[in-house]
């Protein structure tokens, strides 16, 4: 059979684009910072009418830096390209240092608590520190466009941005030229037709099968679309995971901009991949990280579509197994078991595993708290402090050898503390969502049994009975 052109592969973006993107994001500068998602959103032009706003912000930042004394190419390149770790804190500290070096305070550029503030003669523009890592990544990405050919023109264009004081409109010409270049690049390096075809298929689905004209996305729609389009149509969409992702993307477009999940949700597991964090054994790979990996990746979307997500968790791996078994010529019995979903993890078991991991994360939270705050600076109740101390003593993992870690370790723990809280918060929200859904569907076991039969039937249609 023809290969599914909607399988998850890298053919939707050119190798140049992906290569340059990964070269920027996978460096130590940005590893584990979550900037990848933001940069991806900027490159792809998310944001509707505001798709070029990041470029404008970058130009404002260059203008603001000039106000702080960063006016020549050398200092500008040093700011944007020489930071070893690009985090909001590091960038803020660098700006403080730069501001401290200037002989006299500029008239209209100041460093506020949240960001750099530029006063354009009454019109105020603020660039938040937490936004700057994405702008720094954008700078680096733009400079490397087309393997570096654009670098000279890019730097020359930035040189045309006036130094303060200036009117806000004087920054826009440079931003316009850079944004046009990025648009051209985007147009040539992203397979828009392919993505738009996904959308057209979904639009046609709603037109044909959902009365009333409103596009309501829920668990059932996702499953229904998949069953209708995975078999017996021209260009079938075989992978359930592809459909899940497409509908999640579509659902996000219906959300208000400040709840734009793809741009703002940061996979908390990224923190574990930061330099320095890898030496600490917070989660064991197979038994602790893997069971929550998809949940952490999708974030709040998992709770928004709990049934669809449970299907993803249990049956997407099975579908992968079937595809690989057929591709690599595994035995008939292996294929039969996979098609029949005999090894699919029941929903109840999956949730129990998630619950166990959640308890482990809670223990980790307490142990990290004990290492960070000990007794001297703790404001917790004595009972909690005792629990935290006991949690630490009970841990036999790399990185938890001393209750008085050195400064670097403390820094890593401080990062973990935030990520652990987000993880437990996400899991708790997801569990509530699943409970509600299970309650309305006759319980998780019943849901799973029905779904297993449905998926097995569909897999038989897709892949046939093993001979």
């Amino acid at each position: 059979m023809d290969d599914d052109i909607f399988t998850l592969n890298r053919a939707g973006a050119s190798s140049d684009l992906i290569g340059q993107f990964r070269a920027v994001i996978e460096s130590e500068r940005f590893a584990g910072t979550g900037v990848g998602r933001r940069l991806a959103a900027i490159i792809a032009g998310m944001g509707g009418r505001n798709k070029d706003s990041a470029v404008l912000e970058l130009c404002h930042l260059v203008h603001g830096l000039a106000g702080l004394g960063v006016r020549d190419g050398r200092r500008r390149l040093l700011f944007f390209l020489s930071q070893r770790r690009v985090t909001p804190g590091a960038v803020h500290a660098d700006l403080e240092r730069i501001a401290g070096e200037r002989a006299a305070a500029p008239a209209n550029v100041t460093l506020g608590e949240r960001g750099l503030v530029i006063d354009y003669g009454g019109e105020r523009f603020e660039i938040w520190y937490r936004r700057m890592p994405a702008l720094i990544a954008l700078f680096e990405f733009l400079m490397g466009l087309d393997g570096g050919v654009y670098a000279t023109e890019f730097v020359d264009t930035l040189d045309t941005i006036p130094v303060p004081p200036a009117a806000v409109g004087e920054v826009k010409p440079a931003a316009g030229r850079i944004a046009k270049r990025l648009r051209d690049f985007r147009q040539h390096h992203i397979a828009w037709a392919r993505h738009q075809e996904h959308f057209d298929r979904i639009a046609m689905y709603f037109k044909k099968h959902v009365p009333g004209g409103d596009w309501i996305i829920d668990d059932n729609v996702i499953f229904d679309f998949w069953t209708r389009h995975s078999h017996g149509v021209k260009k079938p969409i075989r992978e359930y995971e592809t459909v899940f992702r497409a509908f999640v993307d579509l659902a996000a477009l219906a959300m208000p901009p400040d709840q734009d999940d793809l741009a703002d949700w940061e996979d908390p597991l990224d923190v574990l991949d930061q330099p320095g964090a890898r030496e600490i054994g917070v989660l064991k790979g197979a038994s602790e990280r893997k069971p929550i990996a998809r949940l952490m990746e999708h974030g709040p979307n998992a709770g928004r579509f709990p049934h669809a997500f449970l299907r993803l968790e249990s049956f997407a791996p099975v579908q992968s197994t079937v595809a690989n078994a057929r591709r690599f010529g595994r035995g008939t019995e292996a294929i039969r078991r996979s098609v029949a979903c005999e090894d699919a993890v029941p929903y109840g078991e999956a949730m129990a595993t998630v619950g166990r991991v959640r308890e482990h994360l809670r223990t980790m939270q307490k142990a990290v708290y004990h290492c960070l705050y000990g007794d001297a600076r703790s404001r917790a109740t004595p009972e909690f402090r005792a629990e935290a101390a006991a949690a630490f003593r009970g841990i036999r993992r790399k990185g938890f050898e001393s209750a008085e870690p050195d400064a670097d370790r403390r820094e890593a723990f401080a990062e973990f503390a935030g990520a652990l809280t987000r993880m437990t918060g996400l899991i708790d929200g997801f569990r509530k969502s699943v409970e509600r859904r299970g309650a309305s569907a006759g319980g998780l076991d019943a849901m799973f049994t029905r779904d297993r039969d449905l998926f097995a039937a569909q897999f038989r249609r897709l892949y046939g009975e093993p001979q």
Binding site: L78, S82, A93, A407
Partner: protein
């Protein structure tokens, strides 16, 4: 003891190859040439024309008016020299004697260049003072002898006489077979021994006493000599030859003091993060009010600070003192490799008017050495720089 008056067999008829003894093996002086298109005298590696900055500066003083070359052979004029060597000659001054001899032989057109037949090989080591005396202290003499074995063996194979000229010191251990040793207190007897004309010598074949002889024709007397030397110095804009250490820093130069901080009794390194640092701390050794032990790092003979060990210290305290009378001094710290905890960017720079203390803590197990430099520069331009290294 200086060697006896024996004269070596007829070196005046053949060319002599000159080598400077180094611990990495003998380095041949291949050519000594004046070139009017040079801006200033320099020492270069023949194979790729790399300027050897380690000794070029000292060489310029060496050949300038008032230096040993003019003292031995008279003023060379303003035309710069190009000294071409076969290998690196790094720190120290023991190249002096070999270069002096090479200059003399080149003037007499007897310096063998590569490819020419060689009647004799001279291997030399010796620091010269301002009066052409050869200083008795010589470092690494044993290593220099050992590393010359290959040259000695090669000379033997070619039946070329080879002589090692050195200061009047005792040589410990065995000398390579076939290597003759000649010791000297002063340069002039050496020059006489090999019939190298110099301005204190008579015509060749004259008195063979090892002592410096009165010139058979006076060069210049008293005040006139001083005046000539002074005018040459002024013309050449160089400091008169002086192999002693450089002068002390200008009085208004800023100072930089680095101390290691380590955990004292009753405290641990991690308390570093929470301690408030009082800039009035006593900089002496011993425990201080915050419980840290502070050890002042003293520069060695070469001016460098001793390396620290990350596992033994909590952090570093860097104190910058403005120059005397200076109203503003700019201090900067540049991390060249590794990372100090709390360091926001590779370069830190501040302007100050009073004593300033920077404190950094050091990761217990840094993945690579932490190398950094600190520079303090006063308004008048006086600059002090230190480099330091923290090993993992």
């Amino acid at each position: 003891m200086p060697e006896g008056p024996e004269r070596h067999s007829d070196p005046a008829l053949g060319r002599i190859a000159v080598y400077v003894a180094t611990t990495a093996g003998p380095v041949r002086i291949e050519l000594v040439e004046q070139d009017p298109d040079l801006e200033q005298s320099m020492v270069v590696l023949t194979r790729d024309w790399e300027a050897l900055q380690e000794i070029s500066g000292r060489y310029r003083s060496f050949v300038a008016g008032g230096g040993p070359v003019s003292r031995a052979y008279g003023p060379a004029g303003d035309v710069p020299f190009r000294l071409e060597v076969s290998g690196r000659i790094t720190s120290g001054e023991s190249w002096n004697l070999g270069v002096l001899v090479a200059h003399g032989l080149a003037r007499a057109k007897r310096l063998a260049v590569p490819g020419e037949p060689v009647a004799q090989i001279l291997l030399l080591t010796g620091n010269l003072d301002s009066q052409l005396g050869i200083k008795p202290d010589i470092e690494h003499l044993r290593d220099k002898l050992d590393s010359s074995r290959e040259l000695v063996a090669s000379a033997h194979r070619d039946a070329t006489p080879i002589v090692f000229c050195l200061p009047n010191v005792t040589v410990q251990g065995a000398v390579p077979d076939g290597l003759e040793l000649l010791r000297f207190d002063r340069a002039e007897p050496l020059l006489d021994r090999f019939a190298i004309p110099h301005i204190t010598s008579g015509p060749p074949g004259g008195d063979e006493s090892p002592r410096p002889r009165a010139a058979s024709r006076p060069v210049l007397n008293g005040m006139a000599a001083v005046a000539v030397v002074a005018s040459l110095v002024l013309a050449a804009n160089v400091i008169p030859w002086d192999p002693d250490p450089p002068p002390p820093p200008a009085p208004d130069a800023p100072r930089i003091v680095v101390s290691e901080l380590s955990a004292g009794d009753g405290t641990t390194c991690h308390a570093l993060q929470y301690a408030a640092f009082d800039s009035t701390f006593d900089l002496g050794g011993g425990a201080t009010a915050d419980g840290f032990r502070r050890r002042l790092l003293q520069p060695g003979a070469d001016g460098a600070l001793p390396a620290s060990s990350a596992s033994a210290i909590c952090g570093l305290s860097i104190t910058l003192f403005p120059g005397a009378g200076a109203t503003q001094t700019t201090g900067s710290l540049e991390v060249l490799s590794g990372r100090l905890v709390g360091q926001a960017a590779p370069i830190r720079s501040e302007t100050f008017t009073v004593r300033t203390v920077w404190t950094y803590h050091v990761p217990r197990r840094p993945p690579e050495p932490i190398r950094y430099t600190v520079t303090a520069r006063s308004e008048s331009g006086s600059e002090t720089r230190i480099s330091h290294r923290v090993e993992p």
